[in-house]
């Protein structure tokens, strides 16, 4: 009845993705920080454990994995923070678009802006700890599956803390139980690859979990946000 031209779903998704990526690019200083953090943490391991190559090689895969996870946790808090503060999130929730899909796009943008740089420098981190080069493709594959999983799970938790003021430590406490399985399977694949055993099974588990999370996490995120902002 009104002279409405409702935008299509794809159009709206692209609008969200484009805006968030533009914002990330405008504040690219923030994008560098997790990378820097990962580099610093990784370079501390040899100092703490000694430069002995065999020992470093043994812990390399796990150390890189945990470092990347912590770096992502550092950036997680910012996923919706500015949107809540300036009211953009309310506008997003009132838009005639499925909120879950829009939030999925936001999570995707966040993953592209924070996790992809970490994945790019992961071979460097692995090299610093003498991870054998044949394992590095497996490391990248594991990270490619594990980091979006963490972003999706983190997105739900960040949505839950949306109505609170402080959330840094709280987020870590809430994320820990959720990321235990992710770490176990990613590290399991790496350990198997390092020992020359078949590593496809844990990677397949990670992939299955990712598929499930891609479907369910945005829905949970939308529900959590509606609950958390209901005040």
């Amino acid at each position: 009845m009104t002279d409405t031209r409702r935008p299509g779903l794809g159009h709206a998704c692209m609008a969200v993705l484009r805006r968030d990526l533009t914002l990330a690019w405008r504040q690219r200083g923030d994008m560098v920080l997790p990378v820097l953090y990962a580099l610093i943490v990784t370079s501390l391991f040899p100092f703490a454990l000694g430069p002995e190559e065999a020992l470093l090689r043994r812990i390399a895969a796990g150390a890189v994995l945990v470092t990347v996870l912590l770096a992502m946790l550092l950036a997680l808090d910012a996923m919706f923070r500015s949107d809540i503060e300036d009211g953009s999130l309310e506008q997003l929730m009132l838009a005639p678009q499925p909120l879950a899909l829009m939030l999925g796009m936001k999570i995707l943008a966040h993953w592209l802006a924070t996790a992809v740089p970490l994945i790019v420098i992961a071979p460097l981190l692995a090299g610093m700890l003498h991870l054998p080069p044949p394992v590095i493709p497996v490391l990248l594959l594991a990270l490619l599956l594990a980091t979006p999983l963490l972003s999706l799970l983190g997105g739900v938790l960040v949505a839950l803390t949306a109505g609170t003021r402080r959330s840094g430590m709280l987020l870590a406490l809430m994320l820990l139980p959720l990321c235990v399985p992710v770490v176990i399977f990613a590290a399991g694949a790496l350990a198997a690859a390092q020992e020359g055993l078949p590593w496809i099974a844990p990677i397949a588990w990670l992939g299955a979990a990712l598929v499930l999370a891609v479907v369910l996490a945005p829905l949970a995120c939308a529900a959590a946000l509606r609950i958390a902002l209901d005040s």
């Binding site: 109505g163 709280l170 176990i184 609950i227 209901d230």
Partner: protein, 252 residues
């Protein structure tokens, strides 16, 4: 049609009615818990003979196993209450879910400490990354996460609903953690050690165990009622029935 059940439930979910209901039941629940607890301890610590393999150490199971069972049972109650709170927005369900969390955390903590004491004796180590212990640790973190999230909101009811959502996520998470740690242990050839073997348990040990389980359950309800009563007072402090209670209490 038994439509008096929903009606009865609806009446019970009104805060002043439940406050009185809980107040009446609470002394009975704690009395039963104490009596059963004392009987179970007499049976477990005095009557039951030492185990031929574990000597007297196994007596820890009389509190360890009921606590572990309670840590899961209370989580289930919390999950169900949280679900009801989120779907039907019933104030009482929110309060029950959030009052359950600290009790569940307490039992989970007891499970971990007693398990650790038992392990120190049996395996010579305080901690092992076995699937059960790890799941229990994750459960403790979940409880703490729920409690922390609840308290980080200024609005109690909103905090309760949000933390309830986290509790529901945890319901999915705990089995996944258990499964993944199991898988992880087979990968690392860790030995899974069981506190209660598949071996048959003597009835002289079984009845104190079951009695203690009943005792902890009654304790949970007593403690839950106490917490719910306090929370309801805080939540409804503007209402007349709470003011009446405050006035009556000072006269005594």
């Amino acid at each position: 049609m038994a439509n008096w059940i929903p009606l009865w439930l609806h009446k019970l979910s009104s805060p002043p009615v439940f406050y009185r209901f809980a107040g009446t039941l609470r002394p009975w629940a704690i009395a039963l818990a104490l009596v059963l607890g004392i009987v179970a301890m007499y049976g477990g610590l005095v009557l039951a003979p030492p185990d031929y393999q574990q000597g007297n150490d196994y007596r820890i199971i009389f509190i360890h196993v009921p606590s572990a069972w309670m840590s899961l049972f209370i989580y289930a109650v919390m999950g169900i209450a949280a679900f009801i709170a989120l779907v039907w927005r019933i104030k009482l369900a929110e309060v029950v879910a959030m009052a359950s969390a600290p009790i569940g955390a307490a039992f989970t903590f007891i499970t971990l400490v007693t398990g650790s004491l038992w392990g120190a004796r049996m395996w010579g180590t305080w901690w092992t990354w076995d699937a059960r212990l790890t799941s229990e640790l994750v459960l403790l973190f979940l409880y703490l996460g729920v409690i922390a999230l609840y308290h980080s909101f200024e609005d109690r009811r909103q905090g309760a609903r949000t933390a309830g959502f986290l509790a529901l996520i945890g319901v999915v998470n705990v089995p996944i953690v258990h499964f993944s740690v199991n898988w992880w242990n087979t990968l690392h050839q860790g030995s899974t050690i069981r506190l209660l073997g598949p071996s048959t348990i003597a009835s002289s040990m079984l009845w104190p165990l079951l009695t203690m389980m009943a005792a902890t359950k009654f304790y949970y309800f007593a403690s839950l009622f106490g917490r719910v009563r306090a929370d309801l007072l805080a939540l409804e402090s503007g209402k007349d029935w709470v003011r009446q209670i405050a006035e009556n209490e000072v006269r005594r």
